[in-house]
């Protein structure tokens, strides 16, 4: 440990570690200096100046997010002059912001609103010219509203530093600065992967998911359709947060009950789709392994990753599994197997997916995933949207009596549950592939090597004397590092899992906003959400996808066997290179990955 130094905050001395910023030191001592553009996972921007403090001997106020502590430093965080300056800074931001809080999507969930309240801003002192821009509604998943943007730059840094997508930039300068894709292209024509992480880190409503709640309410009131819902593993692990519950509660039963109360006739579980995905994917992997197919095989569940693949890594398309995602597999089974079984005209089924994801909105309308002229999923809504619908319909979500999902597509194994956490698909696939390949039972089914929040994880297992090397990456920036290794050394791995969002689906772009005093995508919160899924897995008797009796029944009655021609028709697809082509800068690849 390096030598401790002494700093004074508001007249009291504290021993602190050197080599940290004033803000970091103050945080640990319980002084939460107000802030806006700062995010612990992103580079320091120092743009908003909200986090200013007084440092003795310095002529001006200092941005505490970017200034290191030093021995003997005397800091004040809350003087009269500071409070006034901070309030003026926030007032000037608000002056250039539409004053339409009560009709805004982020009302009650907006950092700027909270900040203004904490500054005691209760009147407008500066009224002047304000920027006015049109909304970019082009994308089916992520909409951009520059009028609400306060230019903190978190979205730009998220998109570039964490995701390595580099879709956003602060174009033009001064008063005319606007966050936009290259050439001011509409989001739909840009390299945006629809991951929605810009929404997660935006303090205001400058980025939002395309809202599908009104359309869904209309369908729920349509007497001529059969309303079918499915929900992703990570939705149950996070939706409680939207109702003020602590992070990491599994709300599966409550969610099923609430979806029924909303008007859905049947509620199925995307975890069943996950089990089905594992049946197909594990068999596809073994087939590639035995018949010298293209390896490493890379997972294809994450829709943001699929869009990224087509634009950034077209050279790796053959490596990616042909399996559709659990959502799309289940969607296909709803409109074929289930419809047939129940004697319902599939064209009369309205299929809804509640997802932790914004990119699923893009996936749902992909022509590549259609079959018999139909979409498997008609509408995909985010955790935030479904939580809002439940509130709006006056359903007492927290106290509701839990219910079970419907047969025949509602029962799932523990392997299906852990899909939501990074490494979960790999772990689930190993559980099944090992047993299919060796014919023996895998005793230790919890694969610790692929669990946790390390950016790139690797592990290996031995199947009948053959070493299988696997790797897992979450967040597209980590994926970029791993895929660079694959490009240079294609023999290094056999099987790779990639998830587009930090932490996997639990950190998806559609998850509830961080609450008061919480940080978006905070590691501790991600771990708790993941733990909810791992606990769900442990609590189940059936923990392997191939042991799911309803999956077995589905194969017997409809699909015949994994990779059959019926499976190929409904559960598999192919992707193609798409424009505009994405470019990852050299410096991102320069960072050596140490494993």
């Amino acid at each position: 440990m390096s030598k401790m130094i002494t700093i004074t905050i508001n007249g009291r001395d504290y021993k602190v570690e050197p080599n940290q910023t004033i803000m970091q030191a103050a945080d640990k001592l319980g002084f939460k200096i107000p802030r806006l553009c700062y995010h612990p996972k992103l580079s320091i921007e120092g743009a908003c100046r909200v986090c200013i403090v007084e440092v003795e001997g310095q002529r001006n106020f200092i941005a505490s997010c970017s200034f290191p502590v030093s021995d003997g430093m005397k800091i004040k965080t809350n003087t009269h002059a500071l409070r006034r300056a901070r309030r003026d800074i926030v007032e000037l931001i608000i002056d250039n912001h539409p004053m339409d809080c009560h009709t805004c999507d982020r009302d009650g969930n907006c950092e700027l609103q909270r900040l203004a309240a904490s500054m005691g801003i209760r009147a407008r002192h500066f009224v002047g010219e304000r920027k006015r821009y049109a909304e970019d509604l082009s994308s089916v998943a992520v909409i951009r509203n520059p009028e609400k943007c306060i230019l903190c730059g978190r979205c730009v840094r998220m998109c570039s530093e964490i995701q390595q997508v580099h879709n956003l930039t602060q174009a033009h300068r001064g008063f005319k600065t606007v966050v936009m894709p290259a050439y001011d292209l509409p989001m739909a024509e840009s390299v945006c992967t629809a991951c929605g992480q810009c929404i997660n880190v935006c303090p205001t409503a400058a980025f939002l998911e395309k809202n599908h709640t009104q359309e869904l309410f209309e369908q729920l009131n349509n007497p001529d359709v059969v309303k079918v819902a499915q929900f992703a593993p990570s939705v149950r692990a996070a939706i409680g947060e939207a109702f003020g519950l602590p992070v990491g509660q599994n709300m599966e039963g409550q969610l099923v009950a609430a979806l029924r109360k909303l008007g859905f006739d049947y509620v199925f579980d995307t975890q069943f789709g996950a089990d089905l995905t594992i049946m197909e994917e594990a068999n596809e992997f073994l087939e590639r392994l035995q018949n010298k197919g293209t390896l490493p095989m890379i997972t294809s569940c994450s829709s943001a990753w699929m869009k990224c693949l087509e634009q950034f890594y077209p050279d790796l398309i053959d490596n990616v599994s042909t399996c559709k995602s659990p959502m799309s597999m289940l969607g296909a089974m709803i409109k074929t197997y289930f419809a047939e079984k129940m004697g319902i005209d599939p064209k009369k089924i309205f299929s809804t997916a509640a997802m932790c994801c914004t990119a699923k909105k893009y996936e749902a309308q992909r022509p590549e995933l259609m079959f018999d002229g139909m979409r498997g999923v008609d509408i995909s809504v985010t955790t935030r949207e479904i939580a809002w619908m439940i509130k709006s319909a006056g359903i007492d979500f927290v106290n509701i009596q839990p219910e079970k999902a419907d047969e025949p597509l509602g029962l799932s194994s523990g392997a299906g549950a852990i899909f939501g956490a990074t490494g979960g698909v790999m772990e689930a696939a190993i559980r099944t592939a090992y047993e299919l390949y060796t014919g023996q039972t895998l005793v230790d089914i919890e694969v610790d090597a692929v669990r946790g929040l390390k950016g790139v994880k690797e592990g290996s297992l031995t199947m009948d004397g053959q070493e299988i090397r696997v790797a897992v990456a979450h967040g597209l920036g980590n994926a970029c590092k791993l895929l660079e290794i694959v490009r240079q050394d294609p023999q290094r791995y056999h099987f790779i899992e990639i998830m587009g969002c930090p932490g996997g689906c639990i950190g998806g772009g559609g998850q509830p906003y961080a609450g008061v005093n919480a940080i978006p995508l905070d590691d501790e919160a991600l771990k708790k959400r993941a733990q909810a899924l791992y606990d769900l897995d442990r609590g189940k008797t059936i923990r392997r996808s191939h042991d799911n009796p309803d999956v077995q029944k589905l194969y017997k009655e409809f699909l015949q066997h994994p990779l059959s021609s019926v499976s190929h028709k409904y559960l598999h697809t192919h992707y193609q290179a798409k424009l505009p082509k994405g470019i990852i800068p050299k410096e991102a690849k320069r960072n050596e990955v140490t494993l």
Partner: protein, 168 residues
Amino acid sequence: MTELAQDKMTTLREFMAEVRQKDYSESYLIAVLHKAQELFGYVPRQVMDEVAEILQIPTAHIWGVATFYHYFNLEPIGRHTISVCMGTACYVKGAKQILDVLKSELGVEVGKTTDDMLFTLQEARCLGACGIAPVMMIDDKIYGELDAKKTVDIINQYRKADSESRKV
């Protein structure tokens, strides 16, 4: 692209090939954009796409740089660029009126080019010729102590010279 533009593109590619040999070649982006503007008169989108591909810089970064600096034109510019100095001294001496005269005489707003592609009208901050304020610069020539009539006369000289050069 026309044949002429292809030649220019080849020159730009050669310039980028040199740049690529250097360490941290992406930091030469501004130099490359300067070269592009020198060759094409502006920075076309097609050129930015090519720069992105060759230097491996995301197009959003290039767009951010190209829009940040007023120097870079993102649309084709006229054969002559008029920069009206809006610095303090010129402003006090009536630069705004000079600009208004030019706007109505040319029928374009600031930053735009006349339909005949003869003039592009721009504003400039202090050109360093405060002693003869108000001033404007056409290409690299300074015109000082302007008034409305003098300004229009100068514009007409350029128009005349241009139409004569076209007859030849």
